[in-house]
């Protein structure tokens, strides 16, 4: 476990399978007396960062409504 800043930290783990191993780190933030996961980093790839890039790409080429619409469609489809 590594401290990222005051109030946030990263918990490291490795998943081992017969086909190899994969580091999965959980970024946690202190909320009152709880630690809550706010990001998951797999093999160095942050989930939040990954979504942020996707959103930025959409927002760069379209009006914000387009992103909202895309997300609503996606959420509805599941």
């Amino acid at each position: 476990m590594t401290e990222l800043s005051s109030g946030t930290a990263e918990v490291q783990s490795v998943v081992i399978t017969k086909g190899g191993q994969m580091p999965i780190n959980y970024r946690v933030i202190r909320k009152k007396n709880d630690w809550r996961v706010y990001d998951v980093v797999i093999e160095g790839v942050s989930l939040v960062g990954n979504y942020r890039t996707q959103f930025r790409e959409i927002l760069g080429n379209n009006p914000p409504e387009k992103l909202l619409e895309t997300l609503r469609t996606k959420a509805g489809a599941k």
């Binding site: 990001d39 890039t53 996707q54 930025r56």
Partner: protein, 292 residues
């Protein structure tokens, strides 16, 4: 190399399929990169982050998000998020139309060729055997890790990788078992030429998706050639596209994929724009490797 020959011999049927196998290994857009691209995928499905709240927190409406927590997690403010993830790297994508076309090509290769083949293979070959093969192929790539750990100024890891090669090739029966880790707890460090170039300060350049090989950049493409030159299988034959070499590569792709069926599907399903998700995954993963 005896065991290598043995495998080829058994799979001599692949010779007939030489051309198709070439395609198979391509499909390895996840598999061709071996340990690299695939793992990112595997993890996505297990996480359910409330997307709407994320959307609020990112650029769109920070103030609204800060005052009205949207769920019992409260909100991670922009500041807190930035603190955790250092300045975000980005990669230029000047040839996006080509890249998107190749992404779709590789996508089809996966669903139409690699996945069906890997599913049958997974059904036919017990997991333990597939594990032996995956150790075998990892062991063959030891020279790449030894040389590049050395070039990256990490002689300790180069030594460990050398010890692993010697132990696994002998006690591990030609690399079929990872005895170095299982018997002696000796782990190495992945290292390749693309990483070495990055370590020397060479940037990605831009994003490029190769048919069959998948996400890359000019830097990693040069690195790929360097790695290829250090692979013993490259020298099995003097021909460029030897059936045995191609067959081995195809088998490796199928074997690796058999452990990761469903990973790519999960990434794709979770993504808003799978192409961008994978491009960012490539960038983040390769950037992270340099820090280790």
């Amino acid at each position: 190399m005896k065991s290598g020959r043995a495998i080829c011999g058994r799979r001599s049927a692949l010779r007939v399929l030489c051309l198709t196998t070439l395609l198979v290994l391509a499909a390895g857009f996840p598999a061709a990169n071996g340990q690299e691209a695939i793992p990112d995928a595997a993890t996505y499905p297990q996480i359910s982050v409330p997307i709407p709240s994320l959307a609020q927190e990112s650029e769109s409406r920070p103030t609204a998000a800060a005052t009205t927590p949207s769920d019992d997690y409260g909100n991670v403010t922009q500041e807190e998020a930035e603190a955790a993830s250092e300045k975000k790297a980005s990669i230029a994508d000047p040839i996006e139309p080509w890249n998107r076309a190749m992404y779709h090509f590789n996508d089809k290769m996966y669903f139409w060729l690699l996945k069906p083949v890997a599913r049958v293979y997974k059904y036919a070959v017990p997991e333990d055997f597939r594990g032996l093969f995956s150790n075998f192929y990892e062991n063959l790539k030891a020279p790449i890790r030894i040389v590049n750990n050395m070039l990256q100024g990490k002689p300790g890891y180069a030594g460990k990788e050398l010890a692993r090669l010697l132990i696994n090739s002998t006690i591990g029966v030609g690399g079929l078992r990872d005895c170095a880790k299982e018997c002696f707890g000796l782990s190495g460090r992945p290292a390749d030429f693309g990483q070495t170039l990055g370590e020397y300060g060479v940037g990605f350049g831009f994003y490029i998706v190769w048919p069959i090989l998948g996400p890359s950049s000019p830097r990693d493409t040069v690195g790929f050639v360097g790695d290829w030159l250090l692979k013993p299988t490259t020298y099995l034959s003097s021909n460029w596209f030897d059936p045995v070499t191609v067959g081995l590569y195809a088998h490796e792709a199928v074997n690796t994929t058999s452990f990761h069926l469903g990973d790519y599907e999960a990434i794709k399903a979770a993504a808003v724009d799978p192409y961008v998700a994978i491009r960012d995954g490539y960038l983040q993963h390769r950037t992270e490797q340099l820090k280790q």
